[in-house]
């Protein structure tokens, strides 16, 4: 890595902490982001990179924010209070310890008073510094729409009086639910990008950004087993990134993946997090989802998949969080345990009208229909999946299966 790339990476890594500390003091997300952007640009322009990048960024950003406020000649009292602190830092010329306000910022970005669909975009924008075009692509909306959503959310944070204080502990369950849901939406969106097409087009590794955010949430809330469970889930999904595509760029289904291509550091990390979560003695949907993925990961060690265990876990998940997609996954596990016929019966009992737009539904149906010898219907199901416009990697995979049935 060149020194310049190293500095850029250090600036990105420092961002959550520095922006959070700025936001907590300035009580304005835009001001915090602008000040950080200016200080990051100034940092890159330095002849020599600073020794302590986060501290340099924090002090420089704070000074710039104060200048901006002075220029606006507003909120005189706040300027005085902040100016005193800043002048002290100037006099001492020692790096200020950066207060850790990341949890506060996370709770603000994922506030339940904000629409659920804007929380993850706001967190990715403000905390991770992901550019709006990338976020728009991730959530499959147009750039102007996403820009407007984020702008509106920031305005609401500013104007509606959303607290910049950490919520009291008793409110955490409700608040945590909003944080985890935001993260799950980001994860689902990033994971749908099997071929990394979005990431390549944007020169941003979206999966890595979502993983970074998930690990941050788990680090900040180590007492919350569901936060650990979700982070483990993200790690397990990411552990297979190197095995999800074949040489031609087609998607490789989980059961066909070459386990030698999995990332065992991530699997081990996920496992440790799940052990930690289990110690809290409070299970939940994210822990169960992670357990399902860990059961799949065990194929690398055991050589086979314990489908009975997977089925039992889907049964638990279905009671904790019933949804047609979970029921669909359960039907596939059932097919492995009791045969394709049983799986197909379970699948046909699902509410088709709610799944007709879901490509996995048609792909799963095709798989089970082919196994019970109903080849014509299997082909039709694959055609239905292809008609829904899958991304390239998935399209190649579906086409290969379609060809193998002819």
């Amino acid at each position: 890595m060149t020194a310049r790339a190293g500095l850029a990476a250090a600036i990105m890594a420092a961002r959550p902490r520095v922006v959070a500390a700025l936001a907590a003091q300035l009580r304005d997300l835009d001001a915090a982001e602008d000040a950080f952007a200016e200080s990051a640009a100034a940092c890159i322009a330095l002849p020599e990179p600073p020794r302590d990048v986060p501290a340099w960024l924090f002090v420089a950003a704070k000074r710039r924010a104060l200048d901006a406020i002075r220029r606006r000649q507003a909120e005189a009292r706040m300027v005085d209070a902040l100016a005193q602190e800043s002048d002290m830092a100037d006099i001492l010329t020692l790096p200020e310890p950066i207060p850790d306000e990341r949890l506060r910022l996370l709770f603000i970005c994922c506030h339940p008073a904000l629409a659920a669909e804007v929380r993850a975009p706001l967190a990715l924008k403000v905390i991770c510094g992901l550019p709006v075009p990338a976020i728009a692509r991730l959530f499959v909306v147009s750039e102007p729409t996403m820009f407007q959503r984020i702008t509106r959310a920031k305005a609401k944070v500013r104007e509606a009086g959303i607290a910049f204080e950490l919520p009291p502990r008793r409110d955490w369950p409700e608040r945590l639910g909003a944080v985890l849901l935001a993260l799950e939406l980001a994860f689902t969106a990033a994971y749908a990008d099997a071929g990394g097409e979005l990431s390549a087009a944007l020169e941003e590794d979206l999966g890595a950004e979502v993983e970074r955010l998930a690990l941050l949430v788990a680090e900040l809330l180590p007492q919350e087993p569901e936060a650990l469970g979700l982070a483990a889930l993200v790690l397990l999904a990411r552990s297979r990134a190197g095995a999800r595509l074949d040489a031609a760029g087609a998607m490789v289904s989980l059961s066909q993946q070459d386990t030698a291509k999995w990332d065992y550091t991530r699997i081990a990390q996920a496992r440790a997090m799940m052990d930690e979560a289990a110690r809290a003695g409070r299970s939940g949907p994210y822990q169960v989802m992670a357990a399902i993925q860990l059961t799949h990961a065990r194929r690398a060690f055991d050589g086979v998949t314990d489908w009975a265990a997977v089925l039992a876990l889907y049964d638990v998940l279905l009671t904790l969080r019933p949804s047609p997609m979970v029921a669909l996954s359960r039907a596939l596990a059932l097919a492995q345990v009791e045969g394709a016929g049983a799986g197909l019966t379970a699948l046909e009992a699902l509410p088709a009208e709610r799944l007709v737009r879901a490509r996995p539904f048609h792909a799963a149906r095709a798989d089970l229909l082919a196994k019970v010898g109903r080849v014509g219907e299997a082909q039709a199901a694959l055609d239905a999946a292809l008609a829904l416009g899958p991304p390239r990697a998935e399209r190649l995979w579906l086409e290969a299966r379609r060809a193998s049935l002819s």
Binding site: A113, E159, A160, G161, I162, A163, F164, E165, P167, D171
Partner: protein, 117 residues
């Protein structure tokens, strides 16, 4: 900062055989809430409004003024009353809004535009 907590409720909940008892319980809830606000030292005011059937709406359209018999919007929930409270944040305002007795309906929480200077 100041917030207005607008009580939008289904008036018909107070009709029917159980209505009188429900209204009594709701009013008692408001009395309790007012006491709690006083005890918490929170500046507040609030009023109960007469039923939406008593409302008259003055409508403006391109300079023309007309009167309309009824509330501004014909919905199942009507503005039945409001509180104005002075608290530190939206979070605190929401916490108080959750304690307002509403048999059926919702509370709209809105920051009040601060007076300059």
């Amino acid at each position: 900062m100041q917030f207005m907590l607008m009580i939008n409720e289904d008036e018909s909940a107070y009709g029917g055989p159980e209505g009188a008892a429900l209204l009594e319980a709701t009013l008692a809830g408001h009395m309790q809430l007012a006491q709690d606000l006083v005890a918490a030292g929170i500046p507040f005011s609030g009023e109960r409004l007469k039923p939406a059937a008593t409302a008259t709406t003055v409508k403006f359209d391109a300079g023309a003024v007309s009167l309309h018999d009824g509330p501004f919007a014909e919905t199942h929930e009507e503005l039945g009353g409001f509180y104005i409270i002075d608290v530190a944040s939206l979070d605190e305002a929401i916490a108080w809004a959750k304690r307002i007795p509403v048999p059926k309906g919702g509370i709209e929480v809105r920051p009040i535009w601060p007076m300059e200077g």
